[in-house]
Amino acid sequence: MASVITNKDIKRKTYVSTRNACKLCAPLGACIVFKGIEGCVPMVHGSQGCATYIRRYVISHYREPMDIASSNFSEQTTVYGGSRNFITSINNVIEQYHPKVMGIASTCLAETIGEDIPSLIRAYQDDNKEKEDLPLFIHASTPSYSGSHIDGFHHTVCAAIATLSVEGTQCEQINILPGFVSPADLRYLREIVDDFTVDTVIFPDYSKSLDNVFTHEYQLIPSGGTPVKDICRTGSAKATIEFGVVFDKGTVRVRNTSHMLTAGEWLQKNRYVRNYQMPMPIGIEGSDQFMKLLSQLSGHPIPQKYEEERGRLVDAYVDAHKYVFGKRAMIFGEEDLVISLLHFCKEIGIEPILIGSGGASGSLRTEAFKIFPELEGTLKVLDNSDFETMREEAEIIHPDLLIGNSKGYYISRSLKIPLVRVGFPIHDRFGGTRLHHIGYRGTQELFDRIVNALIEYKQEDSPIGYKYI
């Protein structure tokens, strides 16, 4: 069989090609962010396939409407420029959807032929001043040859804030930029800040638009999303809390050699809003840090409810510590997610032996060994990598479990070890939108799932099949 590779074949070489990518293209990240803006329709400036592929991929995870317009480049467009298709596309979207906002993401094709989207937008606005329902435009430059979906995500958050935020007298409100978390995580964040009674803008907020109730109708623009007026007032906030440490700080573009600012950094530099960057709060320490920060910024004590959530989590750690201690894990996905999961593993005694990502910020290694300096000799860090490289490594070092998105399933199947599904995409299980990852509640859920995955494995694998565990 041509496709089966044994250990013998692997000379631990690095490959030029990407084999089973552990990343997606930048416009996908942009479209998710656009779905987190109220009244927004995303449009991808490029070939028809880009929009359709992204729709299909995203629907398989969220199981929600995901309409994305395309300017549908033809050969002529590619040779003579896309302005005609751009205008037609916007006109048709306005006619069909009446959006309040149009989020425009570029593609590799548009960027390669040198489309100047900001000037196309300006020209459209100038020519249509009279139009009553002229939407706001947000443009994100997201060629897929630069960075991955998570970079597209962060660039678009920054683009939206740079476009809409207004400088003003500092108010009491705070901004939370949570990054690429689940709709359930977003709802939990809202619950937390409400309990702190602190006025908060969460952006992007696709907690509803990508995990909606049964609506009786096909909402062309799903309800939910951060309201535009809220994005506008991010500029006058007291502070920003931004989840993430890695972002794409190592990535440089040929034309723009300084690293791109994150949205929080941009607000600090241009709107003088103090930015607090912290890893996605997974684990007790991360969650504590987040709660303390909220308490400090709001001037309110941590509500009793969360003290109790924390207490139950500690109690669970104690009850189940033996099941997880010393287990060797392979963790993969977006770099910032991996880093946060490392913090969590450190707390419960799981030893990461392999971490992998398609991201190429260049700082995954440094950040990982800040958390686990003692593993410098044993923890394998594969950044700018792919699933096949991870699989080859995993076959040699044989971890006890995998933590990551569902695309790693084939590795767990071939190694016959459990996979605990987190993040995006989860295409082979139901309810990925309702998984919690962050805070005490997210950590609790994740901890339970890891413990149960290990118990189940042990039970299934035993000749006895224990009734008590």
């Binding site: 496709s3 074949d9 090609s17 990407t18 592929y53 398989s60 317009a69 033809s74 916007i90």
Partner: protein, 442 residues
């Protein structure tokens, strides 16, 4: 129907209202939110099931990532097609050219996997930056001694249908490279992709009537079998949109005639077997086909009758990739008492839509290259209960509260042939009769 964009109004019609055929076979309207993908997608879905070939996507990462193990096309042997390979072009490659990366990628991947052939798909920007993919493939073919076939499929160079044509041309380059002894009553199956093992069901039927399947294009496909495809007596083409071009090319060069069939629904399935038996002018074969059909009908009809009694009066909306499949679905649904009130496809031709118009009841909406705005309005207007489509149509059905049947890549149960018809009836029943709909009523 004021919600239909002006430029699209000729792509929609109502059966019985207008005599002229709807407009089709054209590029999607910008901003219409078409359900179609692109040229690359068309070529990729057709070639994807060839299991012992290496499929390398030359371009930035998206195109390869979104087509990784996407189709559920089963293989009885090698699984190489289920891996996703990309040159993952970066900004510097776009500026300085991706040729070196392509050469190196081909080199390492061929040495690692020893495929029987390689397909190199070029994507949008490769079409623009001008890498000489043909030349690299040629050199690599000489060096490695296996076919290395460029599939020039930049997404913007046409529609998904052009991708089908490009895939057929790529396949045609493989045909004729092998000569194996081939039994007299041999056919090639074109246009079945072995979703949920459907091909194996068909091969079994053909075997029962004494027909040998020489080569399958491309479900459970093998490079060597495709090389020997020219030694069959007949090409039997399903899913006319994707593979008819190859049929035509093989007829021109090798004189192999073509028959267009469908395997969905018991009428079309039976007609396919009769068609092949008629072609071979073999009385024994015809007799065997009759017996097979009779046996299957005897077994199946009482069961289908049970579903028909319960499903009678339900209304279905069909929106699928190829119109030929839509036609079969209309018939299959009728057999179980379900009326089709909306029939549409991404890539239908004038002939297809004419057939649909004649087949459907008056008032049926017929649509080409539709979108969520139209489809969501149509199903409400026509009071459909069930939607048959692919993943992208699923939220349209579910958010409105309609049953849904995936007749595309994500189906896990065979829907072709006689047992496929029964599975189809079961699935329609399961989705239409679920008690959950009591909660979706206002």
């Amino acid at each position: 129907m004021g919600y239909i964009l002006k430029e699209r109004q000729n792509q929609v019609s109502v059966a019985g209202e207008r005599a002229e055929t709807i407009d089709c076979n054209k590029a999607s309207l910008a901003g219409s939110v078409s359900q179609r993908a692109c040229v690359f997608c068309g070529s990729r879905v057709v070639l994807y099931p060839i299991a012992d070939a290496l499929h390398l996507v030359h371009g930035p990462i998206g195109c390869a990532a979104y087509t990784w193990d996407i189709r559920g096309s089963l293989s009885s042997g090698p699984q190489l097609h289920r891996l996703s390979f990309s040159t993952d072009l970066q900004e510097r490659d776009v500026i300085f050219g991706g040729e070196k990366k392509l050469t190196e990628s081909l080199n390492e991947l061929i040495d690692l996997h020893h495929p029987k052939a390689v397909f190199v798909y070029t994507t949008c920007i490769v079409g623009v930056i001008g890498d000489d993919v043909e030349k690299i493939c040629q050199l690599m073919e000489q060096e490695k001694g296996i076919p290395v076939i460029p599939v020039q499929a930049p997404g913007f160079q046409g529609t998904k249908k052009d991708g089908y044509r490009i895939a057929c041309e790529a396949l045609f380059k493989l045909v004729g490279r092998v000569n194996k002894p081939t039994p007299p009553h041999s056919i090639n199956i074109l246009g079945d992709f072995n979703l949920a093992g459907e091909l194996w069901i068909l091969v079994e039927y053909y075997k029962r009537i004494g027909v040998n399947v020489n080569c399958s294009l491309t479900g459970d496909g093998r490079v060597e079998d495709i090389g020997n495809a020219h030694n069959a007596a007949l090409n039997v083409v399903q899913c006319s949109g994707s593979m008819s071009r190859l049929g035509v090319m093989m007829e021109e060069k090798y004189g192999i005639p073509c028959k267009r069939v469908s395997y969905f629904g018991i009428e079309d399935m039976s007609e396919a077997l009769y068609e092949v038996a008629r072609f071979f002018k073999d009385d024994e074969m015809m007799e065997k086909a009759r017996i097979l059909v009779r046996d299957e009908f005897e077994r199946l009809l009482p069961e289908l009758e049970w579903y028909k009694e319960r499903l009678r009066g339900k209304k279905a909306a069909i929106y699928v990739g190829g119109a030929f499949k839509a036609i079969s679905l209309v018939k299959a649904l009728r057999l179980i008492g379900v009326q089709s009130v909306i029939v549409g496809s991404q890539t239908g031709t004038k002939e297809d839509y004419d057939l649909i118009r004649n087949l459907c009841d008056e008032g049926t909406i017929i649509v080409d290259d539709s979108n969520p705005v139209e489809l969501s309005h149509f199903v409400k207007e026509k009071g459909a209960n069930i939607f048959i489509g692919g993943v992208k149509e699923r939220p349209i059905a579910y958010k409105i509260g309609l049953g849904f049947c995936d007749h595309n890549h994500e189906r896990k149960k065979a829907l072709a042939g006689y047992e496929g018809m029964l599975n189809f009836a079961k699935e329609i029943y399961a989705t239409a009769m679920s008690p959950v709909w009591q909660f979706t009523k206002k």
